[in-house]
Amino acid sequence: MQPRAMSYFGLNLLFNLAVPIALATIAQMCVIMVNDIDLSIGAFVSLVACVTATFLNDTPMLGVLILLALILSYAVMGAVIHALDLPAIVVTLGMSFVWGGLALFILPTPGGAAPGWIRTLMTVKPPVAPMAVVAAVLIAAVTHVMFIRSGLGTVLRGVGGNMRSVQRAGWNVLYLKALAYGLAGLFGVLAGMALVGLTTSADANIALRYTLLSIAGVILGGGEFIGGKVSPVGAVIGALTLTLAASFLSFMRLSPDWQIGAQGAILILVLTARLLFARKGAAA
């Protein structure tokens, strides 16, 4: 490894782009938690990034309102999916086109600027550990309390585990699903804002990749597609691992032909290693 990478500065560089990915992964986790899958989170984060770099920067009040409306629309999406019993995969696929189209409206060409306070927040230099590490730990801790420790989080996971039993226990599942999606929207908004804080500007395609990345992160972190088995700490670690895997690669000098393939190979290795550990853990 590179000696510079282990410094305060190096760790920050290595990990700061993992912060928005971690947030997007948590958003995806909220949806996977209730047995659905979100194919629109990448487009949504892109849209948020566009809003942040334009409205939130130029007319903060309007920007905040738009972002709140976006969170709300995510919650409504969840409610509609539940109420009409629609397959989430199709609805979110459709919504990904909608978010993408809106983003193109706002920023037909790359541009905008990050609001100063977000930029400051994302580049702040806390003592001891760099911002990226502090943020990752903070996100993991807060979401762990939210989803694993808290009572409501437990009920939300219960929806993924056995929706009927939660319903029979007297919960309004419509409201719970809307809440789960609303939280996904909230973390999606945070991801978009964090991303713009790092990149300083936005474009309509900026985070499309986050859809697959976030799914991979959730699974890498030990989550499962059905049954409400998720781990926020795992998801954050998954997001960090995915970022690190790509970095690790540029430290080895490969022929350009194989650079792309090597990223795939690393992904496979990381996952295999994780599964081996998991199996050892289970055996012990």
Binding site: Q2, R4, A5, G10, L13, L14, N16, L17, P20, I21, A103, L104, L107, P108, T109, P110, G111, G112, L195, L198, T199, T200, S201, A202, D203, A204, N205, I206, A207, L208, R209, Y210, T243, A246, S247, S250, F251, R253, P256, Q259, I260, Q263, G264
Partner: protein
């Protein structure tokens, strides 16, 4: 002679996309130039890096890694003109030289080797105006929505059309700079279009457009082409068969080698203005055969730049 020695310096190429022949030609030109320069002892290393996904976020991470690896300069073809500014700033702050080309960045600390894409679009229409004085309907094939290059060229085209009001753009589709996508989009819109006299493109999609016209049984209009060998070959065949005449406008992928030399000059202590321009590559009826000869089968027409070219470009900019 007063230049500092760069033989200990290390340069990296940060590339966001390798999935088409233009980028492949760019990578190989860079590699050739760099290998030669390393062999000659001009620089210590020059390594190309490509991200697996064409995304600004991934490229930003790549740039950050280059900082960590201790490179002295980064030659950058950026996924976004603005979204990498954060990472570029970090590189500058860490003392690296950043030279962007083709896909340039707006961060002031970086150098830009720009192509005037808007002028390129406008020139297409001007050419059509010369060839088709009576004007008529045009079809526009755009690139990837939301990407800066697409917007710039399209702006130039529309500006050209507003200056030449004998033309009207009756249809506009996104071909994503890919042959098959362009072919599909054109095939889908053609049935609803009136007669089209000309097609303005962004390069690389002319052949697909021609095929779509042929499949629809329509007369081939005047299609402004890019620099791909199969486009040029098709043009030559048409010319031999029926005297078809058109124009090819593009950026030479060799601009990567120009960027390499510019960064080397900056490392050498040369005073280089932040904004440089390269002319675009133009192939006309007269130079077609020559261009076809020098273009490898299935690749793109290219020009490789040497140190002297770089010095010339720098001198022109001063």
């Amino acid at each position: 002679a007063q230049d500092a020695d760069t033989s200990g310096k290390r340069i990296a190429l940060s590339n966001n996309y390798a999935g088409n022949s233009w980028r492949q030609a760019m990578l190989s030109t860079f590699q050739e130039t760099a290998d030669q320069a390393v062999a000659d002892g001009v620089v210590a290393a020059a390594d190309p890096y490509t991200t697996s996904e064409n995304q600004a976020t991934e490229q930003a991470a790549q740039i950050q890694n280059m900082i960590l690896q201790g490179y002295d300069a980064i030659v950058l073809n950026a996924a976004s003109p603005t979204a990498l500014n954060g990472a570029v700033k970090e590189a500058c702050d860490a003392g690296l030289i950043v030279v962007s080309f083709d896909g340039i960045v707006t961060e002031p600390c970086a150098w830009r080797i720009a192509v005037d894409f808007a002028a390129m679009g406008k020139e297409e229409v001007d050419y059509l105006a010369g060839r088709l004085p009576d004007g008529g309907n045009l079809l526009e094939i755009r690139g990837l929505a939301g990407v800066f290059v697409d917007d710039e060229i399209s702006k130039g085209i529309h500006e050209g059309v507003s200056e030449n009001d004998q033309f009207e753009i009756v249809g506009s589709v996104h071909g994503d700079w890919a042959q098959d996508v362009a072919q599909k989009a054109v095939a889908g819109i053609l049935p609803s279009l009136p007669e089209v006299v000309g097609v303005v493109t962004q390069g690389g999609d002319g052949y697909g457009a021609a095929q779509a016209f042929e499949a629809a049984g329509r007369d081939t209009p005047l299609i402004v082409l890019g620099n791909r060998q199969d486009e040029l070959k098709w043009w030559a065949e048409q010319r031999d068969a029926n005297g078809y005449e058109t124009l090819s406008l593009s950026i030479a992928p060799g601009v990567a080698s120009l960027a390499f030399w510019v960064s080397q000059q900056i490392l050498a202590g040369e005073d280089v203005p932040k904004d440089l321009t390269v002319p675009f590559l133009k192939i006309t009826q007269d130079t077609l055969d020559e261009a076809l000869e020098t273009t490898p089968e299935g690749s793109v027409a290219n020009v490789s730049y040497a140190l002297e070219d770089a010095q010339q470009v720098i001198a022109d900019a001063k």
